[in-house]
């Protein structure tokens, strides 16, 4: 039942001096009080912040989009992609849902063409010419619940999450390379179990990528 919505807003900014050829990707995850009674109003809690950091790490590790692609003019102008993820229904395994929502939203993003006016040094935006983002990789996460290193559960619900002894998220891309093996503590896990999780994650990546492609295709044809 978990529902996550991802909105991407693109804005223009100056690149940093350290990385003049790079744009910014700013992912933030919000777990508002709307999605579950466990969250209270106010600034994001530890879980939301850790999720934001996790998503940021996944973007960086998987190179889903390269920050260089967001550069419009070196040292002067670049895109900032604000990827805002909001959970609408928290029924466990929010990390997987976030990664999938993010990937689908990125695939659906259309940026307008921007040129820099050489005389006034101001950007000119042409809304009629739009192009999609260059998606290099398709990272997909698979989360597992572990109960005392004996029982493995795939895609845990909120109830299962509250009972588990440890949780593991494996993110893989289409080339079966691992982008993240995220296990924030909990009881220890043997090598065999870990291997089992990884092989399941690769299978899941293929399924999800197919699903996203299908959805994007249907969106395109309906437009």
């Amino acid at each position: 039942n978990t529902t996550v919505i991802c909105g991407i807003k693109a804005e223009l900014a100056n690149p940093t001096v350290e990385a003049p050829g790079k744009g910014y990707i700013v992912p933030n995850v919000d777990l508002p009080p709307l999605c579950s009674s466990r969250f209270r109003p106010g600034p994001p809690g530890e879980q939301a912040q850790a999720a934001s950091q996790f998503i940021a790490d996944v973007i960086e590790s998987s190179e889903v989009i390269q920050a260089e692609d967001l550069c419009i003019e070196r040292g002067k102008l670049c895109w900032v992609l604000y990827c805002d993820l909001m959970c609408l229904d928290y029924d466990g395994n929010v990390l997987d849902a976030c990664v999938i929502a993010l990937l689908a939203a990125l695939k659906n993003t259309q940026l307008p063409e921007v040129t820099v006016n050489t005389e006034t040094c101001t950007p000119v935006v042409n809304l009629e010419k739009r192009h999609g983002l260059n998606i290099h990789k398709h990272p997909v996460g698979a989360s597992f619940c572990v109960f005392d290193d004996s029982i493995l559960l795939v895609d845990p619900t909120a109830e299962e999450e509250s009972l588990l002894t440890s949780q593991l998220t494996v993110v893989t891309d289409e080339a079966a390379r691992l982008c993240a093996v995220h296990k924030p503590g909990g009881t220890s896990l043997s090598g065999e179990k870990l291997q089992e999780c990884i092989s399941r994650a690769t299978v899941r990546q293929k399924e999800i990528q197919k699903l996203i492609d299908k959805v994007i295709h249907s969106v395109k044809t309906s437009q």
């Binding site: 590790s61 440890s166 390379r177 982008c179 993240a180 093996v181 924030p184 990884i198």
Partner: protein
């Protein structure tokens, strides 16, 4: 800035219960530890890995806020203070890693409705910071005398562009690496308690890194044992 850091380190190295472990096959940088160096907390430790150094303080079991009370176990809070500025999302994510690792090893159900607080202060970051946090945390919890089911240690591995695995990398090595992984290994069965990774890597590379970390953990646990033994032999 450098002079200030070296001052701090001289202070730490001059402590009475310093140990230094040399590096051999699985190369770890020199590490050192001092326990009970702060007087106010219930337990404290500093942990140094090469130039990276972290100060940890543990408080508890103490009274807990009503909103955070858990009826069947103690509430553990981990706070990470960066060297400069306010803690950001990155610190919060590391807090989660450290907290959940500590929660798994501590016997929290022995102190229901109470609070444990662990504060980690970065003194200097020269790579492998998360593993240093874990090691400092474990030493501080030991020093506080909190009941634990097992000990844990943190090991960071970096895979460089040639595919070589570097254990306990420096900040410069981290920057050049293709992938970076930190594991927490438990002392009972040498299994992976926590895993945090950055960059992309293949499955065999992951398995190799885990194996290397497990080997490295032997050394760290031996160091734990030596340093605690020396400390208590002196006190008696």
């Amino acid at each position: 800035m450098t002079s200030l850091i070296s001052d701090e380190q001289i202070l730490l190295f001059s402590g009475s219960m310093m140990e230094v472990c040399g590096s051999s096959k699985v190369t770890l940088r020199e590490f050192g530890c001092e326990q009970s160096l702060l007087s106010r907390p219930d337990g404290s430790a500093s942990f140094i890995q090469g130039e990276t150094s972290v100060l940890a303080a543990a408080y508890g079991p103490a009274e807990v806020k009503v909103s955070k009370e858990i009826y069947d176990r103690a509430t553990l809070e981990v706070l990470i203070q960066p060297k400069v500025g306010l803690p950001s999302v990155r610190e919060r994510s590391r807090e989660q890693y450290v907290r959940e690792t500590c929660e798994a090893s501590l016997l929290l159900s022995l102190h229901p409705r109470s609070s444990l607080t662990l504060i980690l202060q970065v003194l200097h970051d020269d790579g492998s910071l998360l593993s240093c946090f874990l090691n400092a945390a474990c030493m501080a919890l030991m020093d506080a005398g909190l009941p634990m089911s097992c000990l844990f240690c943190g090991v960071t591995c970096a895979i460089d562009t040639d595919g070589q695995i570097i254990t306990d990398p420096t900040a410069a090595q981290e920057k050049e690496s293709r992938a970076l992984m930190t594991f927490a290994i438990d002392s009972k069965e040498r299994r992976v308690m926590m895993s945090s990774t950055k960059g992309s890597f293949s499955v065999p590379e992951l398995q190799q890194c885990i194996a290397v970390s497990q080997k490295a953990s032997e050394k760290i646990f031996q160091f734990y044992r030596d340093s605690v033994r020396r400390r208590y032999s002196k006190n008696l």
